[in-house]
């Protein structure tokens, strides 16, 4: 069993991050939420109603970009709209172009995946999810393989995009505590074997936040240290 006793209420428009050691079932939790996996027991409620199967109101940004290599950038971004039959071809392309411009990829719309850098691929991946206007966006270590600088830039971009979309809920998985605290309204700390929630820590730093300077904020430090102590104890236990 990958997960047990995961009880969590997430409010509309909230930005929640989940941290925890590898093997604590963070990704499993997301797969259950989006409907790719079925929970063996328990209940998943979406806006008060049980959710069964793939939920189209949820977007999922995975760690590997999973761009379709045979489609150009813009064809990737329009994929969801095309599958769901939304808008005409021209409307879909306009919407995708606007999003690509928003994330600084204007001029790359006809490139293929292998012609893009890692950071660009992940931006396309995020925009592909946003194109369908999901109510909830799940991100599974989306910036994991990127270098530190690109990572910061994308965190900043993600926060902006989220703030432009009032009422959009974000669940963001990471193993980087700095990232978890800097982005979140609440940090969900998980522990392993079986995966469970060990603590939920609110982050009372006002928005909009400056991702580049937030680490020197004393409130950031206090939340960070509190979780770090907790994770440290956890690690000692599992090491034995």
């Amino acid at each position: 069993m990958a997960l047990s006793d995961v009880n969590l209420d997430i409010d509309e428009g909230e930005f929640v991050t989940m941290v925890g050691p590898s093997g604590c079932g963070k990704s499993t939790a997301l797969n259950v939420i989006v409907g790719l996996l079925e929970a063996s027991s328990g209940e998943l409620l979406f806006r008060g109603k049980p959710s069964v199967g793939i939920n189209r109101e949820i977007g999922y940004v995975t760690q590997s970009d999973n761009l379709f290599p045979w489609r150009t950038v813009i064809e990737n971004v329009t994929f969801g709209l095309e599958m769901q039959g939304m808008g005409s071809r021209a409307e879909r392309r306009d919407k995708a172009m606007a999003l690509l411009e928003r994330v600084g990829l204007a001029g790359f719309e006809n490139h293929y995946r292998h012609e893009l850098s890692g950071g660009m691929r992940q931006r396309v991946n995020i925009v592909r999810t946003l194109a369908c206007d999901p109510k909830v966006i799940l991100l599974d270590e989306p910036f994991g393989p990127l270098d530190a600088q690109t990572r910061l830039q994308l965190q900043d971009l993600l926060l902006e995009l989220w703030q432009e979309r009032a009422g959009t809920t974000v669940i963001f998985i990471t193993h980087e505590l700095t990232e978890a605290v800097a982005l979140a309204d609440r940090v969900v700390v998980m522990s392993a074997r079986p995966g469970r929630i060990s603590e939920v820590v609110p982050v009372d730093i006002p928005r909009p936040r400056d991702i580049f300077t937030i680490q020197s904020d004393p409130r950031f430090r206090s939340v960070y240290d509190r979780i770090w102590v907790h994770l440290g104890e956890e690690m000692k236990e599992t090491a034995l």
């Binding site: 989006v34 409907g35 790719l36 793939i54 189209r56 949820i58 977007g59 999922y60 995975t62 590997s64 999973n66 379709f68 290599p69 045979w70 489609r71 150009t72 994929f79 969801g80 599958m83 769901q84 293929y112 995946r113 292998h114 893009l116 850098s117 890692g118 592909r128 999810t129 369908c132």
Partner: protein, 254 residues
Amino acid sequence: MMNAFQLTGWRIAVAIVLLAAWQVLGGDLLSNPAEIGAYLWFYIVESGDFWTDIGSTFRATAIGYFFGALAGLFFGLLLAQSEKAALIFKPYVLAVYGIPRIALAPVFIAWFGIALLSKVMMAGMVTFLLVFFNTYEGIRAADLDLRNTARVLGASRWQLFYYVTLPNASPWITAGLRISIPQALVGAVVAEFIASQHGLGFRMMENTGQLAMDGVMAGVLILMLIVVILNSLLDKCEDYLLRWRPKESDTNTE
């Protein structure tokens, strides 16, 4: 490194040396370039038999290839749909694939006669096996992460197949369609070796029977040229169809 000009120069030099050596050393069994050239002139220009022969071989190859590829695609896609069927038929598929295809030529002559049909069937069977196997493997190799991504983005079962599984398998399918073209030609020629009244293979056997080695060598040369030309045309088609794939020379900008 050499530049392109020097490279071409060296290649031509090698060709001249090889041809000269052949001319000097080639005895009765190897013939020599001058005799082969004279035969080719006679065969292609004076008698004009070449055109009937190549027409006949091409017709068999093309018809066989067309139907073989169609059937290979159809059954490859069909079998790959069902996990159960795939599991049951796997050893049989592998066994059939393992048959040395040329070994079936005499059987096909017995079944389909010495006219066009047996050559068509031979080319068709070779194509069918290659296309079938590649299509099947390509579909089975579908990337689970990409499939899940498409599902989350709202793809239905049919859309998943058409927009993800099929393009994902396209390098395999294209490879199958591509390698089977020269193979289909070989299939048809082999059937002509065994029994026929026309075709490049027929002409080669006829010349062999009369120990006319210039004619036999000319046949080998013609087949070689056809396959080389076909391959370079197919490379161009493949490059276009699979233009989304990174070239091996591309350095990844991570």
